[in-house]
Subunit: 334 residues, 2 copies
């Protein structure tokens, strides 16, 4: 499982950060898109992600910086001759938004859109291999976090026990790994379940929409390896802005992650007032370092501040490590 | 008057070209935007154009690659605290498109949007200093060309005649330039109209939407200095694609411009199949040079193929010259 950030700015794009969008690459191939701000398809052109391999889109909430790129992305997938149906998940009125845009701009797609609600995404199985969980957040519009967990983990044979019990390597090992009952030539009957290691924990990544109450995620984070959450400001800026916009500070998210004993926290959705570093000449204190320092004061786990096109791999042991971005070298034609 | 191209690709963005958008900078300050494909606001961040100085938006037609950037641009202008009302011109259902997006995504702007039809833009005077003319084109959706002509040109005194008639420089010259009647100390009565040079031609730029019948512009081009028109393909590619998409080839536009004796022709809206040059490794013949060669075979005027962020100044004598792009050095915050 890999995360690839397509936009990390809040509200409006900047010259270095686009508005919200994050790709979740799945081990079995294909990828999911969470949020699709304007220009998400432009960022995708800078990656190796393909609109043909996109398995579903999840919209956390309907503010423009999280969904204004969706019609264009759908149109470009059509011009690239996508024929596979595409599931789009989000709170109402996502369907009315899409249908309205498509009708007024004569957008006719060569593939079906299955627009479903967040409850349906959780209850149903739109995605093989991935279990989706949904958590309602607190924002000016209905906003959600999506949890993506591996539906199954690989079975691993306890080969030490097999050898200790005098079962030689051979076809029986494969059948035991499948959980079958096996009768050996010496008459012994073995149960597969007795020779499987305890399964590793299924990996789980939670990607949250805009939210001013991170504690709403406490239960969802219990089994999570990674949380991707907005940290729009520092506490100091939040105090000036006031609670109206209903965003979180870096401190608020960090405290929640610490309480949940979360191993990996990725912050994103930074206010454009924050410069990447002091060399940009912005006001002192309004840099990403200020956000990082505030989060680190409350959270001792693996803390990452996302930048556009940053890519992180979640290994099977639950560690999250940066991956060097791969330059796209494909021709993009429509 | 200056043109600044914000997108020059057809249908979908490429890694070097965004979808449709062109800025028309006015001499008196401020600028107009013609078309607003997705990512137009991102291109604007790479220029010195300000959303506060944007005087009106003209949409040629409602295909997504010409209008999907409009909601995000309006939202960003709001987050930048624009308060000046903004006129948005285009064919129906532009208003329904915008109202639908705004309602379903809870977009509340701190300024008024005046959404008007193309007929109203031509008849009324939404823009001081600029006369707008409208020409219906031929495309899959109602599509228009907008002509922008100077409403007035500067009055220039015939100083040679004043000197010949023994009128010395002084306050009388200024009053004569205003067209006033002036009584000289020697009793002579002079009419301003007798001492003004023939006014220069008012400059006029025509920016066309998608169109498969350039000859529809013949009348509109009679007084124009510049036509900006799509040249989506060469004739050879058009023959393969067929007439269904209702686009023009470079040859079709060039012939129309030649017949109109148009001094300056700017081609844009190139199919993404065309590479900027052969070094991109695309199929032979599918480069911008093929489009240029085809147009040049039929048009002997000043021919330009637009690229993103290219900027051209239309001088008072009607010549169109490239201007070096100015890097934006402003901070963009919201």
């Amino acid at each position: 499982m890999e995360l690839e950030f397509l936009g990390t700015s809040s509200g409006t794009p900047t010259r270095t950060r686009n508005v919200a969008g994050v790709a979740l690459r799945l081990d079995g191939g294909g990828w999911l898109l969470v949020d699709c701000g304007e220009g998400t398809q432009h960022r995708i052109l800078q990656t190796t992600l393909s609109l043909h391999a996109l398995r579903a889109v999840f919209i956390t909430h309907l503010h423009g910086d999280h969904c204004y790129g969706l019609p264009g992305l759908l149109a470009s997938a059509g011009m690239a001759n996508r024929t596979e149906p595409l599931t789009v998940v989000g709170p109402p009125p996502l369907d009315a938004y899409l249908q309205g845009v498509m009708a007024t701009t004569a957008l006719h797609l060569p593939y079906e859109i299955h627009c479903i609600g967040v409850g349906e995404a959780e209850a149903g199985a739109p995605l093989s291999g991935v279990n989706v969980s949904v958590t309602a957040l607190s924002h000016r519009l209905p906003s959600y976090a999506y949890g993506f967990a591996e539906a199954a983990v690989e079975r691993r044979l306890d080969t030490a026990r097999l050898r200790a019990d005098g079962v030689p390597p051979g076809p029986a090992w494969g059948r035991l790994q499948q959980g079958d009952t096996v009768t050996l030539p010496d008459g012994r009957i073995l149960q597969g379940a007795d020779y499987l290691q305890a399964p590793r924990k299924a990996r789980k990544i939670v990607i949250a929409g805009d939210n001013d109450t991170p504690a709403l995620l406490a239960q969802e984070l219990a089994a999570a390896d990674v949380l991707v959450h907005e940290a729009t400001y520092t506490d100091a800026v939040l105090a000036k802005v006031g609670p109206g916009p209903q965003h979180s500070s870096a401190r608020m998210v960090a405290q929640c992650a610490a309480e949940a004993k979360l191993p990996n926290l990725v912050l994103t959705h930074f206010s454009p007032r924050y410069q990447d570093d002091d060399s940009d000449g912005g006001p002192p204190g309004l840099t990403l370092a200020a956000l990082r320092d505030e989060a680190q004061a409350h959270y001792g786990g693996n803390l990452l501040l996302a930048s556009d096109l940053a890519r992180y791999r979640l290994d099977r042991d639950g560690t999250l490590v940066p991956v060097a971005p791969v330059a796209a070298d494909r021709a993009h034609q429509a």
